[in-house]
Symmetry: C2
């Protein structure tokens, strides 16, 4: 595989997903840090060379190929490995959880973490403040759906860790940063422990 | 392939994506309609049997397998076909656009269509009203990014139609329903015409 460079903000769960996937696969990533609080991903250089959408993570493959979107980068790294199911329906079902994570989980659980830990909830603008109760409720609904799903299974898709578990772990295991308690979700807590106990696991701070 | 049933609300672009993918592949879908305005996807039966997340579309494969998330359903249908690039990086790059569509495009372009055509903008609740300017701006940004990307290429990922084009076409070609003008985006308009001119194409009303 060509040399891999992760353009990232290390504390972001979306960036951590890619590092965790690479760790499970034994792949080396060079890391390049951008301070999103200082707008370093909105500079003309970043927009023209790394990601026109102005966001991290972006995975650089070799010198010329740039891949934004965290779950697409994880898929690229894991393509052909056991982190992606080999059965057609199960592979699509894994993607289902990746799309669900980006639509139902990340905009709520990750956004509240960002608001609470980086901005401070007292500093939200009026639109953010209007959205706070809805995002809290939607985040709880996402965690409850995960808990129900995990009541009868150890992993999200098949009987081993896949990208669905990695993607959902990234922000779930730090959900308390955003004011969510995991106490009502015992199946989620047990699954978090299972993910963290896997050989090859690395923490978000690594 | 086992019998396919699409649980849907036909006017939804997310449901149309799946029908359009199936049409290109020559696959037959049985269709089952739910009135989302009457809460028919939030009944106990729907939540326990079709999708615990209470949303359409969900693709049923055979009798027991249910696949929510529109782009995952498209991937399932197209897996192994020319609608998905065979090269590893290009395949991930296609997924990049599918994730981008669900995160940056659909919550803005599709949501404004829904608010404008189904609710009426005068009937928005205070939280929706607070979000209106931000969603209008984010929708314009998504269309502008697409236009810039298409200035130098005919299709989103490789030199033919892929699921990225199908997924992005679904809500872009009806963006005017949500109050977006496509006049500032000539490359998008030319691409819309190219998608609609492909053999096997069907309209959203089919």
């Amino acid at each position: 595989m060509a040399a891999l460079v992760l353009h990232e903000y290390a504390a972001s769960g979306n960036c951590y997903k890619i590092r965790l996937t690479a760790a499970h696969l034994g792949l080396k990533l060079e890391r390049r840090e951008y301070d999103i609080m200082k707008g370093e991903t909105r500079t003309p250089e970043f927009l023209s060379q790394v990601n026109a959408n102005g966001r991290i993570p972006t995975l650089q493959v070799g010198t010329d190929d740039f891949l934004p979107e965290s779950n697409a980068a994880c898929f690229y790294l894991a393509d052909g490995s056991d982190l992606i199911p080999h059965d057609r329906f199960e592979r699509a079902d894994m993607l289902r959880w990746l799309f669900w994570e980006q639509y139902n989980h990340e905009p709520n659980v990750a956004t509240l973490r960002f608001w609470a830990k980086w901005f401070g909830l007292d500093n939200l603008n009026p639109v953010q403040r209007a959205n706070l109760p809805g995002k809290q409720a939607a985040g709880e609904a996402a965690l409850a759906l995960m808990d129900e799903h995990l009541e009868k299974r150890d992993w999200f898709v098949i009987d081993r860790l896949t990208l669905a578990d990695i993607a959902l772990y990234a922000y779930t295991h730090v959900a308390e940063d955003g004011g969510f308690s995991l106490n009502p979700y015992p199946a989620v807590r047990a699954w978090i422990d299972r993910v963290a106990a896997q050989p090859g696991h690395i923490p978000i701070t690594a």
